[in-house]
C-alpha cells in the first residue's frame, strides 16, 4: 500500500473546474516532484490535498485512511503539511514564534523543542535570526522559514509548493539539498517545482498539463524520456 493514494481527484474554483480527475500515488519515504507549466494545476492539487480547497469528486487516502473531505486542520492532524506557494510566513511575528505556532496541533513540549533544534540544524540561518520579525527576512530566508514551519507540524508527508521560486540557483540547490536531507530523515516529500535542478532528488516525477497528468514515472525515466523538454520548451522528440 502506498502512503498517499489519489483517485480521480476533482476540484476547482467557484463553478470553474481545474482538476479533471487525477490519480497517482506516492510511496512512503520517497520524494515526488510535480512539474508543469504555469496554470497547469499544481498549486490547485497540493491545496486540495491540504484541505484548503474542497474536494469535488474522487478520493484521497493517506496511510489507508480516507482524508478527502477533511478541512485543513484535519489534514494536518492526519499527518500532511503544506509549505504554501508564496511562503506566507507570519510577517509580524518573530522567526521563533513562527516555528512555535507551527506546532499548534502538538502537545509534546519536549518534542516541539527538538523539532525547533532540528529546523535550526537544517537552516542555521534561521537560528541566527530567530528573534527577527519574519517580514524582515530575505526571500530565501522566508522560504526556509516556510519549510521549517511545515516541519514543525511533524508531518509524515511534507508538501512544498514552489520551493525555489525567486531564489538564486545556488540557494535553490541548498534548499533542494535540505529537502533531500529531510526526506532521508524519514519524511515523505511532494515538491512542486519549475526548476529542473530538483530532478536528481526525484524518486518519482509527475507532469501536469491543463488539470491532468501527462507523465507519472520514476525520476530517472523522466530524464531519459525527453518529456520535460516537450513540456517546458514545446519541442517534440528531439534528443536532449
Amino acid at each position: 500500500m502506498s502512503l498517499l493514494e489519489v483517485q480521480e481527484l476533482r476540484t476547482g474554483y467557484g463553478a470553474l473546474p481545474v482538476l479533471q480527475g487525477i490519480s497517482f500515488s506516492v510511496e512512503e519515504g520517497e520524494t515526488c516532484v510535480i512539474f508543469g507549466l504555469n496554470g497547469a494545476g499544481k498549486t490547485t492539487t497540493v491545496n486540495c490535498l491540504a484541505g484548503v480547497l474542497p474536494t469535488w469528486g474522487g478520493e484521497v487516502r493517506f496511510d489507508g485512511k480516507k482524508v478527502s473531505g477533511k478541512d485543513a486542520p484535519g489534514i494536518v492532524k492526519a499527518g500532511i503539511a503544506l509549505s504554501p506557494e508564496g511562503r506566507r510566513v507570519w510577517a509580524g511575528l518573530t522567526v521563533l514564534k513562527n516555528l512555535e505556532l507551527g506546532a499548534w496541533v502538538r502537545k509534546d513540549a519536549k518534542g516541539i523543542q527538538a523539532s525547533i533544534e532540528q529546523v535550526f540544524s537544517y537552516f542555521p540561518r534561521l537560528e541566527e535570526r530567530k528573534d527577527q520579525l519574519a517580514g524582515t527576512l530575505s526571500g530565501g530566508e522566508q522560504q526556509m522559514l516556510a519549510i521549517g514551519r511545515a516541519i514543525m507540524c511533524k508531518p509524515r508527508l511534507l508538501m512544498i509548493d514552489e520551493a525555489s521560486l525567486g531564489l538564486s540557483p545556488k540557494l535553490a540547490q541548498t534548499v533542494f539539498q535540505v529537502v533531500s536531507q529531510i526526506n532521508d530523515d524519514g519524511t515523505t516529500v511532494i515538491i512542486v517545482e519549475q526548476n529542473v535542478g530538483v530532478l536528481p532528488y526525484a524518486d518519482q516525477a509527475l507532469i501536469m498539463e491543463k488539470g491532468t497528468l501527462t507523465f507519472d514515472g520514476r525520476g530517472a525515466e523522466l530524464e531519459a524520456s525527453g518529456e520535460l523538454r516537450k513540456t517546458y520548451l514545446g519541442e517534440s522528440e528531439q534528443p536532449a
Binding site: P84, W104, V105
Partner: protein
C-alpha cells in the same frame, strides 16, 4: 507690591487651578479610561480583521441597557448589581458573536470597506432595537459603587471613578499579556496576517475569529456599564454618540495596533477633552469637548500617523 496685596490673587489663582486644571484632569482621566477600554476592543478587531468596528460603541450600550434592565427588574425580581452587570457583559458578548457570525463571516472576502459599512449598519440596528425596548428618552444606570473616594477643596473623586481606572488598567494589562504570552493570543495575530497559512498549521481560523469578536464584546460591555454608571442619561446609541469617536481617536493616537497605546491614548484624550471643555469659552468654540477630539485626531494623522506607540505586534 506688598505680599499682602498679592494674597487675594493667590486665592483666586488657587481656586482657578483646581476648577480649570486639577478637576478636569481627574474627571477626564476617568472618562478617558472608558475611551481606552472601548479603544482596546477597536484595536483588537483592527489587529485581527483589519477593520474599524463601528458597532463597538453599541456592544457597550447593549451591556449598559441589559444591566439597567436587570437592576430595574422589569416585572421580574430585581437583580443584585453584580449579576445584572455579568448579564450585561454576557449580552454584549453574545451580540458581538452574532455580529461575527451573521455579518463578518459572510462578508469576510469582500472589500474591507463593505465590512466596515456593515458594522455601521449593525450599530444602527442595535440603536433602533434599544430605542424600541427602552424608549427614546433614556434611562439612568446606577454606579457600580456609590459614594466618594475623596472630597477636598473643590476636588471630588467618586468611588466609581477609581473603580473605572483600576478596571481599565487590569484589563489592559491582561489583554497585553494575552497577546504576547499565550498561544491563543499569538494565533489571533497569525490569523490577521495570513489566514490560509494559519489554517495550514491546524489552527481553527473560524473559531479564533469568533473568539476575537467575543473578547471585543467583553471589553466593550465592561466599558459600557462603567460609562453609563458615571452618571447622565443612557439613551439609544449613547456610547456611539459620546464614546466611539474619542475611543477611535484614542486607538489612532496610540498607534491603532498597540494595546498599551490605546490605553494611554484613551486616558490622554479624556484629559485633553475635559481640559478643553473647561478652559475654552463656549463663545469662542461651541461644543469644545467634541471639537478638541477631532483636533487631536487630525493632528495625530498629520504629524505622527503611526501614533504614539505605533508598531506591529
Amino acid at each position: 507690591m506688598t505680599p499682602l496685596a498679592l494674597a487675594p490673587d493667590t486665592t483666586y489663582l488657587a481656586f482657578e487651578f483646581s476648577s480649570r486644571i486639577t478637576t478636569p484632569v481627574i474627571s477626564g482621566a476617568i472618562n478617558g479610561a472608558v475611551y481606552g477600554l472601548l479603544g482596546l476592543g477597536l484595536v483588537l478587531l483592527y489587529k485581527s480583521n483589519r477593520i474599524f468596528n463601528f458597532a463597538q460603541g453599541e456592544f457597550a450600550s447593549v451591556a449598559a441597557f441589559t444591566t439597567y434592565a436587570g437592576t430595574a427588574g422589569f416585572g421580574l425580581p430585581k437583580m443584585p448589581y453584580v449579576f445584572a452587570a455579568i448579564l450585561g457583559v454576557s449580552a454584549a458578548v453574545v451580540v458581538a458573536l452574532l455580529t461575527e457570525r451573521l455579518v463578518v463571516q459572510p462578508l469576510f472576502n469582500q472589500p474591507k470597506v463593505t465590512l466596515v459599512v456593515a458594522t455601521a449598519g449593525t450599530a444602527l440596528l442595535l440603536i433602533a432595537l434599544e430605542g424600541f425596548v427602552f424608549g427614546a428618552e433614556g434611562v439612568g444606570l446606577d454606579p457600580v459603587i456609590a459614594g466618594d473616594a475623596l472630597t477636598s477643596g473643590g476636588l471630588r473623586v467618586t468611588n466609581q471613578g477609581v473603580f473605572v481606572v483600576v478596571v481599565l488598567a487590569v484589563l489592559a494589562a491582561l489583554t497585553a499579556l494575552f497577546f504576547s504570552r499565550t498561544k491563543t493570543g499569538t494565533a489571533i495575530l497569525a490569523v490577521s496576517m495570513e489566514p490560509t497559512a494559519t489554517s495550514l498549521v491546524g489552527i481553527p481560523v473560524k473559531r479564533i475569529s469568533a473568539l476575537t469578536w467575543g473578547l471585543a464584546g467583553l471589553l466593550g460591555g465592561v466599558a459600557g456599564i462603567l460609562f453609563a454608571g458615571n452618571g447622565g442619561l443612557l439613551g439609544p446609541g449613547a456610547l456611539t454618540a459620546f464614546a466611539l469617536i474619542p475611543a477611535f481617536t484614542a486607538a489612532v493616537f496610540g498607534g491603532i495596533t498597540s494595546l498599551p497605546g490605546a490605553f494611554l491614548g484613551g486616558v490622554l484624550i479624556g484629559i485633553i477633552q475635559t481640559l478643553g471643555a473647561r478652559n475654552i469659552p463656549e463663545s469662542v468654540v461651541p461644543d469644545a469637548n467634541q471639537v478638541v477630539i477631532f483636533f487631536v485626531l487630525l493632528l495625530t494623522l498629520l504629524i505622527r500617523p503611526a501614533g504614539l506607540l505605533g508598531k506591529e505586534t
